[in-house]
């Protein structure tokens, strides 16, 4: 806090950069500043962990979690695709 680092980023910016960070879309400089901020900020470290957990939990959704209508659509799509695929035989 004593030294002004070159354009240190604030927590409020970190939460908007977190997706680009996870996507590997930050420049090398942005990435360094992002990680430097995390190293000194337990709150933003927690925030990043929450985003990772959110992604992991979303990844566990299975078709049973989708509405009957959506499942019906999938089944219909499959039937149509199968019929098209089978036709030439």
């Amino acid at each position: 806090m004593m030294l002004l680092r070159r354009r240190a980023i604030a927590c409020q910016e970190v939460v908007e950069l977190v997706s680009d960070y996870l996507e590997g879309a930050l420049t090398a400089g942005e990435r360094r500043r992002f990680e430097r901020h995390l190293a000194g900020c337990p709150h933003c470290t927690e925030y990043l962990a929450q985003m990772r957990e959110t992604i992991a939990l979303t990844g566990r959704l299975v078709p049973e979690d989708f509405s009957p209508q959506m499942r019906a659509e999938f089944a219909e799509l499959f039937r149509r695709w199968r019929d098209e695929a089978v036709e030439p035989l």
């Binding site: 939460v15 929450q50 979303t58």
Partner: protein
């Protein structure tokens, strides 16, 4: 699907297993089915159709400016530092709410999203497509794909926080 599967396996129970495995496999990791082109074709057909039905193609331009912030501005002080920092819930989310309730909350939050946002998050984080595939299926630029992904994931995190912060799980 069950009937189709039944044509190839001896019993209904096995057919049900096959259908379930297919769903799980397809939605979990398209890469594992690399080489089985028919299955890949099927998946992409579903994806394109899902994209169409959610209206993704109708409005491709994305207003970047008017988006709500990932976190309410009121939770930061004037310098942009947390004044109301995130509570810890990552470690015990599942013990507190249970997997089924967590899934239900995520599902509800997905349903409340604008269609394009939902499509990007679903394709990336539920179906497991990479960003190139999502851009191709939804006709999005990489930058717009990331904007939608960011908004969607941020919204899902807020939804989880709403039910997990405060320790009551309520």
């Amino acid at each position: 699907m069950l009937r189709l599967a039944s044509n190839f396996v001896p019993s209904r129970a096995v057919a049900e297993e096959v259908v379930q495995d297919t769903w799980l496999g397809v939605l979990r990791g398209i890469d594992r089915f690399e080489g089985r082109s028919s299955l890949r074709t099927w998946l992409l057909a579903i994806l394109v159709n899902r994209a169409r039905t959610t209206g993704v193609r109708e409005a491709r331009s994305i207003a970047v400016g008017d988006a709500a912030p990932a976190v309410d501005r009121a939770r930061f002080d004037a310098s942009g530092a947390w004044s109301s920092p995130p509570e810890q819930w990552v470690e015990d989310a599942e013990e507190r709410l249970g997997a089924a309730a967590l899934a239900a909350h995520i599902h509800d939050a997905l349903e409340q999203m604008p269609a394009r946002q939902r499509a990007v998050v679903t394709l990336r984080d539920v179906d497991g497509l990479d960003s190139d595939e999502v851009c191709a299926v939804l006709s999005l630029s990489q930058a717009n794909q990331r904007v939608l992904l960011h908004r969607g994931r941020s919204q899902l995190r807020r939804a989880l926080e709403a039910v997990l912060a405060g320790g009551s799980g309520g």
